[in-house]
């Protein structure tokens, strides 16, 4: 391969990656008059082709079991045939490795919009205390920014993408710019009662789904299928909500099927070019740029930096601190479910709603952490309702019944009575969780791949134990008898990476010796290089990371535009 071609043109801002970070940068910068060139490692997105919204299982001969019944053999699409993942835990020809004794899973989506096309749309602000964790309990590291710095950008991001919610005045879950939330589903009323009995607040969910028309996007039509992608763009995805309007400015150019390989500098600590592989021709190409923004996902951005070792950067571009790849975090996950007999016989209704739950439980123990015996907190996501029947949903029940009419009778009785709780908790960064370049493995483009190392500490395991006790108490209060936890590992804690909230590999900070970026996501070492994905995170509070990626990228973009205007970069 590799006839090296150079484009003489210099691009103002080149962005690598089109997910929550890259989409926000493209949208904000083009809106401020800046020309942006976006590299995406996958294809462009055709919602008609990609989104299986409104399909019934019987619309396909395999009913969702996939061709040849792949799903039955454990080789189905992640999250099911009808979702729009365009990626997976393993990508053909693009491996990653895991160090001895470690477990880690890395989910990658190679398509315009990346993982925002199918994610859960949970949209939570960090709390003020989340930015200063070390001040609070001596663990982890403080962020170089405070809630007051990011607050205005949470406002802007929420107002633009549209987020449901209610004003609650809870310190652990700051209020934002909210659209009216949809009303609770019937089973959620029962959950709310049980939750409040245990002193746990249960409030309207905060999700980026429109309950009224804003910014030219129609309100949700309540098919409940957000994970399949939304053709009417009534929920947030960077592809439809940010990249489409950015294209309309005429200032965005997208280069798809472009696999970024490495960064070239000029010997004076400035990025001059990015080298990428054109997947269609397998040729190496170069783009000259004034500013480079990495938004390829925390680990992929770290990989690009570590794979770039021009003169002066023997450990990777923007890595004089040595922290690139380090302090990798995921979210602590734990799940438990049970059938609730009290829900049997409820009058059936269309409970699809705005996709996902209409209520959730934010963290409630921030004032008595010491009594709880573990630092930091978690929120609880709830599941239930009369869901569209799918392949596999009744297998366990059928097995328990044997055969015959008993299967049908039991399905009628138990359908819609299953309630599940998923805990999502904060991980404290640790030195044993990191990614590095594997010296022995390259991907199909010849690019060295990442090797992961991941360890939970007792902080996380104790937290998962608390989740287990809480969920059991909630389910039993409603009359359920929970079985085994839904996630493996002896303690029930999730496998690192499996919650798909990996962050922290290019962390920001005030001290250039202990951090790679400043508070504007700008490299300490290379002033025209920014990292606008979850890589910049200093901690990983229980709030799902997407909104904070949006807000940090928005803030960084305004800063970038101003610096460009002043000629500083």
């Amino acid at each position: 391969m590799a006839s090296i071609q150079s484009t003489p043109e210099t691009h103002d801002v080149v962005v690598i990656g089109s997910g929550a970070g890259g989409g926000t940068v493209a949208h904000v910068l083009t809106g401020l008059g800046v020309r942006v060139t976006l590299l995406e490692a996958g294809p462009l997105l055709d919602p008609l082709e990609e989104f299986k919204e409104h399909q019934w299982p019987y619309d396909v001969a395999h009913r969702g079991a996939e061709d040849g019944g792949r799903r039955y053999f454990g080789r189905g699409k992640p999250f099911g045939y009808f979702t729009t993942t365009s990626g997976g835990w393993q990508l053909e020809g693009e491996p990653y490795t895991v160090g001895d004794g470690s477990e880690f899973q890395w989910f990658r989506s190679r398509i315009l919009g990346g993982r925002t096309n199918h994610y859960g749309r949970l949209t939570f602000r960090f709390s003020d205390y989340d930015f200063k964790p070390r001040d609070r309990d001596g663990l982890g590291v403080n962020w170089p920014i405070s809630y007051d710095d990011i607050g205005p950008y949470y406002d802007k991001a929420e107002a633009f993408i549209g987020v449901t919610g209610s004003r609650e005045g809870l310190r652990s879950a700051p209020d934002g710019v909210f659209l009216d939330p949809p009303p609770p589903k019937a089973h959620e009323l029962l959950i709310k009662a049980a939750s409040e009995r245990l002193g746990i607040p249960c409030i309207p969910n905060r999700r980026s789904v429109l309950t009224r028309t804003i910014n030219g996007r129609p309100a949700c039509h309540y098919c409940g299928q957000c994970a399949r992608g939304c053709r009417s763009a009534s929920n947030y995805s960077s592809s439809q909500v940010q990249i489409v309007p950015a294209l309309e400015t005429g200032r965005l150019r997208i280069i798809d099927q472009a696999m970024a390989r490495e960064i070239v500098t000029d010997g004076q600590d400035r990025v001059t070019e990015v080298i990428y592989i054109d997947k269609r021709t397998q040729e190496e190409r170069r783009l000259r740029c004034r500013i480079l923004v990495l938004a390829a996902s925390a680990c992929e951005s770290a990989r690009i930096l570590l794979n770039s070792t021009p003169r002066g950067f023997s450990d990777g571009v923007a890595n004089r601190s040595g922290v690139v790849g380090r302090y990798l975090m995921d979210t602590v996950g734990y799940g438990l479910a049970a059938n609730i007999p009290a829900l049997e016989g409820m009058p059936r209704y269309n409970s699809d709603g705005a996709g996902g739950a209409h209520l959730y439980m934010p963290w409630w123990g921030w004032e008595r952490q010491e009594a709880l015996g573990f630092p930091r907190g978690y929120h609880i996501e709830i599941g239930g309702g009369y869901r569209m029947p799918s392949v596999g949903a009744f297998s366990g029940m059928a097995r328990a019944e044997g055969f015959g009419v008993g299967i049908k009778e039991r399905a009628r009785r138990e359908y819609g009575t299953r309630i599940s709780f998923e805990g999502r908790g904060e991980m404290i960064p640790n030195a044993d969780s990191y990614c590095e370049i594997d010296p022995d493995t390259v991907d199909r483009w010849g690019i060295p791949v990442l090797r992961f190392h991941f360890e939970w500490s007792d902080y996380e395991r104790d937290q998962a134990k608390h989740m287990a006790e809480t969920f059991r108490a909630l389910l039993e209060l409603m009359g359920g008898r929970p079985g085994a936890p839904s996630l493996r590992d002896a303690s029930g804690i999730s496998v690192g990476g499996s919650i798909i909230h990996e962050v922290g590999t290019v962390r920001m900070g005030d001290d250039p010796r202990a951090s790679a970026l400043n508070g504007f996501c700008q490299s300490h070492d290379v002033r025209n290089l920014f990292v606008c994905d979850g890589g910049s995170f200093v901690g990983n509070p229980d709030k799902n990371p997407t909104l904070t990626i949006n807000a940090l990228a928005w803030r960084a973009s305004e800063y970038m535009a101003e610096e460009m205007r002043q000629g500083t970069i």
């Binding site: 919602p47 008609l48 919204e53 409104h54 019934w56 299982p57 019987y58 619309d59 001969a61 395999h62 009913r63 969702g64 079991a65 061709d67 019944g69 792949r70 039955y72 009303p183 609770p184 589903k185 019937a186 089973h187 009323l189 129609p218 949700c220 039509h221 309540y222 409940g224 939304c230 053709r231 009417s232 763009a233 009290a342 829900l343 016989g345 409820m346 009058p347 059936r348 209704y349 269309n350 409970s351 699809d352 709603g353 705005a354 009369y386 869901r387 569209m388 029947p389 392949v391 297998s395 059928a398 044997g402 055969f403 015959g404 009419v405 299967i407 049908k408 009628r412 359908y415 409603m478």
Partner: protein, 202 residues
């Protein structure tokens, strides 16, 4: 439904599906089409076997009927298209095809040993007795001679149940009312009242 109007429904459905970015999907048209397709399937000439032999198809059909029989709440596994579902997937996957080919042969062999006829030609009582034995075998510590049959039965049951609950009749049996386009989301008062009564017990 008349043929002409059927064609018209299909045309409208195709139109609604290609309305780029409109977010409009004609659910009613989709329902009608699927009902028509289901109707066609019940006609003998409506389905051409893709992989199973007629005898294997008949055996799988009888098993599907025994596993999910028709009752007042809905049709059977056969009505839901389970045999066709299995046939299609077998035609795409050698591993699955072997499971069904060997499995049907196993059922015939055991039934011949027991009553000197193939599975489909045995009486209902004889067929049900074999399935009862297999269900017992599923939880038994030692399955002995039933081992292969237990495994095959697990496959037929899983796929029959899946076919039933992913079919229009299975979905109607459960009472799933979603996958609709609504202008607002409201919970019916009857469901709220029900939940509120249950809350009293907490």
């Amino acid at each position: 439904m008349e043929h002409v109007s059927r064609r018209e429904v299909l045309r409208q459905l195709a139109l609604s599906m290609t309305a780029a970015g409109s977010g409009v999907f004609n659910i009613e048209a989709a329902r009608v089409v699927h009902a028509l397709v289901a109707e066609e399937r019940t006609q003998p000439e409506g389905y051409t076997l893709k992989w199973l032999s007629p005898h294997e198809f008949a055996t799988v059909s009888r098993l599907a009927e025994l596993i999910v029989p028709a009752d007042e709440g809905g049709g059977s596994g056969v009505d839901a298209g389970a045999p066709e579902f299995i046939d299609v997937l077998c035609s795409q996957n050698d591993q699955l095809a072997d499971i069904y080919r060997d499995g049907v042969a196993w059922c015939d062999r055991v039934m011949r040993d027991r009553v000197r006829s193939r599975f489909v030609e045995a009486s209902s009582v004889q067929q049900t007795t074999l399935l009862d034995d297999l269900v017992v075998g599923e939880t038994a510590r030692r399955r002995g001679a039933l081992r292969q049959g237990v495994s095959f039965f697990g496959w037929v049951r899983r796929m029959t149940v899946d076919a039933y609950y992913t079919s229009p009749i299975g979905i109607a049996d459960l009472g799933y009312q979603g996958n609709a386009v609504l202008t607002s989301f409201d919970v019916p008062v009857a469901a709220i009242d029900f939940a509120n009564r249950r809350i009293q017990d907490i």
